[in-house]
Amino acid sequence: MEQASLSIDAVHAGYGDFQALFGVSLRVDPGEAVGVVGPNGAGKTTLLRVISGLIRPRSGNVRFAGQDLAKVPAHTLPALGIAHVPENRRLFPHLTVEENLRVGAFTAAARPHFEARRDHVYTLFPRMKERRHQLAGTMSGGEQQMCAIGRALMSGPKILLLDEPSAGLAPLVVQQVFDLVRRIRQEGLTVLIVEQNVAQVLRVVDRAYVLETGRVAAEGASAALAADPVIRRSYLGGH
């Protein structure tokens, strides 16, 4: 079980002169769902981008399943079992839903499983099946989020990284997206989810980290964080 865990150790990272992360450490064990919450600009997206190799840490370690991720090219990470649903979904709007799924199954290891996984995605999201020949860019925000998650599942990941899945969605749709995350979890997938919607995400994850200006300000079990007076005041609108 130790093998498929994700660990981030004292990571410093940023863009050009701007430093976004200052010695962030966190850990996700297999089968766990972990949240990273915090205000806009806290470095949450940067953290996910460091994990999936889109930017390299200036110092510190990122390890998954015993492998040092800083040493392998970003495009080899899906084959290692890491799937990243990026901020703003980043679907290919001019491709159909099914073509988006096909791009998600690009790796050599994923191609033989394309049909089985596609059908599984369609059972998870029956709407995707209805819209499989529709251009992804013509769908609603919620459907696009479902499609982006489906595309990530096509690589057969061990861990799913979700960047603000609720951003820009109506409350009812946010609910649907989190229900979906819950179902994906129940299938045994490890999930790391970055969110501003703190109240919602704490109901889905086991543990969470609070990220503020690039540093871990608090961490703990979801229930404990949800009950913490400081967290309640800052993030949950409580008193």
């Binding site: 889109l54 495009h75 990470l77 980043r90 290919f92 709007p93 096909r102 690009f106 690589s155």
Partner: protein, 284 residues
């Protein structure tokens, strides 16, 4: 209908088919790599020499000369990418255009050194065919069919394969591709090889209609770029349709006036289109 006008229309469509291949190749490379290969027509020129050399000088069977030509120009496309384009990928676009423009003159110069400026003809011709009231050149018809087959094969590749789908995806969003397990550099190489292969196929279809000389690229290069821009640079379908539109304008223009005049009309049409729709006729 006037049979001669009908013939001009048919010839325009046949001409459009031949324009379509280099237009698709250029658009493919531009859409994926985001670099315009200014020396594209000269890649075709090299391919035309290859067919002429292997068929007329070495006595190889024509299909073999064609196959070697397509493979050779595909390799040339890969080399162009590796040696010229890739080192300049992070440079401003103008540097990339100038560099591939430099390759244009290098290829013209090398061709002149090796083959001199003499016009070389393949000397194969198929008998004309009578379709209804219209006489059609058998060679042109065969070239047109081959061009359509090439375009169809490209379409099927882009539509139904993993790599083809990734090529269409990367044209829109490069940065996200590693998250899909796609190495963009590898896709660039594949697109460059296919772009080269399309130039090679175009060379096979042109050498049977046109004598080759080091500057033959000038006779179809400018119009190829014009069609690409008119269809919307990087837009494969737009370029494909614009190729036929231009073929028709040139052919029908030649029917009412002279061939020289028809090219003037075509360029004038292009300029008018650029004023009205600078993003291209078929841009969405």
């Amino acid at each position: 209908m006037d049979p001669f006008l009908l013939e001009a229309l048919v010839n325009g469509i046949l001409l459009g088919g031949v324009f379509a291949l280099p237009v698709l190749g250029l658009n493919l490379v531009f859409g994926v790599v985001d670099v315009v290969w200014l020396c594209y027509a000269e890649l075709v020129m090299v391919g035309m020499y290859a067919v002429w050399f292997f068929y007329s000088q070495m006595g190889w069977p024509l299909p073999l000369a064609f196959a070697v030509c397509i493979g050779l120009v595909a390799v040339l496309g890969v080399l162009l990418h590796l040696l010229v384009v890739r080192p300049l990928l992070t440079q401003p676009p103008i540097n990339q255009v100038l560099a591939t423009g430099g390759v244009l003159f290098v290829l013209q110069g090398v061709a002149t050194l090796i083959f001199s400026t003499e016009f070389r003809a393949l000397g194969v011709d198929m008998p004309p065919m009578e379709v209804g009231e219209v006489f059609v050149s058998g060679t042109k018809l065969a070239a047109f069919c081959a061009a359509l087959l090439g375009a169809g094969a490209l379409w099927a590749f882009l539509k139904f394969t993993y790599v083809g789908t990734a090529i269409r995806a990367i044209a829109r969003d490069r940065e996200v591709m590693p998250l899909m397990g796609v190495d963009p550099q590898r896709i660039y190489l594949i697109a460059s090889a296919i772009g080269g292969a399309l130039a090679g196929l175009a060379a096979c279809l042109l050498i049977v209609q046109l004598d080759v000389h080091p500057f033959v690229g000038l006779s179809f290069g400018p119009i190829t770029f014009m069609i690409c821009v008119m269809g919307g640079l990087g837009n494969m379908l737009g370029g494909f349709l614009a190729a036929f539109l231009m073929g028709l304008i040139i052919s029908v223009g030649g029917f009412w006036g002279t061939t020289e005049l028809s090219y003037v009309v075509a360029f004038a049409f292009f300029i008018v289109v650029m004023f009205i729709r600078p993003q291209g006729l078929f841009a969405r």
